[in-house]
Symmetry: C2
């Protein structure tokens, strides 16, 4: 499909997109199969069929590379105004849940967390990624306050942490894939926690 | 202090406790200083001043060792009946928060998560540890249902995930140390989410 796009759009940028996609797919596949221990720049280059210089131009460290791979699967998200913050939170969480259930994503996320604690890792690189992942939840909460169905005194940053944390913890610490029942529980619990009292 | 105990109690078991403590302290120190990448059985044995066979008798893999080190700092917990599930949850979370703020614990937890996703890791070893860490929260929720201040229809497993997840996520994904303000937010949000309506 990337090749078709390249043909339609001509050379140049599409070729770069093709390289990016091939490299990030290779990272996801390698980590899914063999864990972070097997993830070397050489192995990724060989699997993706790209040169190491082409990789280093985009991602100078292994940490950059795994964060980019995670973001290719779990990236920014946009949910339209549905007139109800619970429905919007459910939409965010269902999209995440489906992404988390893809093969190898649990291992990739655990690997990103582990890599961010290694010497030489840039802490801000991962916290900035987390902020991008959480931004739509922040947006849903703020829209709810304006709309009036979210309590105006809610600590939005802490509530967003609670929303983002449950499925990730279920996956990496409890080692179970998050499912629709967990999404419904989180929507119900957060809904009661932050919903404005009905008039 | 371990030596004093050994003298008071005589040889045998106290000597074993001394070895255990020395090894787990060495693991925490090494990971805090140099990350999981620096954690080898040789480095731990040298730092702790114990023989490798003595280590392998207790922990046969690096994963066992880091889980034991984490559990030496973040272990099972018991909170007495305070007549109020919010106060009890606050006690659990304050104890965890203080443990999480010890030097190097953020890195150790991230390392445990990363190690559990490596090839050869035993998934159940980490999920069993998580279950031990979460067990007192489960207990507080169940006691609240019996007492009547927690809604009887609460999905206790999912609520416990939400309680446990927030501080860990704040630490390993947002890369900020959890603080008392986060504890209060979580107690407030979970309190509203699961509290029984007052009569």
């Amino acid at each position: 499909m990337a090749d078709e796009q390249a043909q339609r759009r001509g050379p140049g940028r599409p070729r770069q997109e093709h390289v990016t996609r091939a490299v990030l797919d290779a990272v996801v596949d390698l980590v899914a199969e063999s864990g972070m221990g097997a993830l070397t720049m050489d192995a990724v280059a060989a699997r993706a069929g790209v040169s190491k210089p082409a990789m280093y131009r985009r991602w100078s460290t292994k940490q950059d590379l795994v964060i980019a791979a995670a973001e290719s699967r779990i990236g920014p998200l946009e949910v339209p105004d549905m007139g109800d913050f619970r429905a919007e939170l459910r939409a965010v969480l269902m999209a995440r849940m489906e992404a988390y259930r893809q093969p190898g994503i649990d291992r990739l996320l655990a690997g990103v967390i582990g890599a961010s604690a290694e010497v030489g890792a840039v802490r801000e690189a991962f916290s900035a990624y987390s902020a991008r992942v959480m931004s739509e939840t922040r947006h849903v909460l703020e829209r709810g306050v304006v709309r009036g169905d979210v309590r105006p005194d809610v600590q939005a940053a802490d509530a967003a942490t609670l929303v983002a944390a449950a499925m990730v913890f279920r996956m990496v610490a409890e080692q179970r894939l998050p499912d629709e029942a967990l999404v419904e529980s989180v929507v119900d619990l957060i809904g009661r926690a932050i919903g404005a009292p009905s008039l």
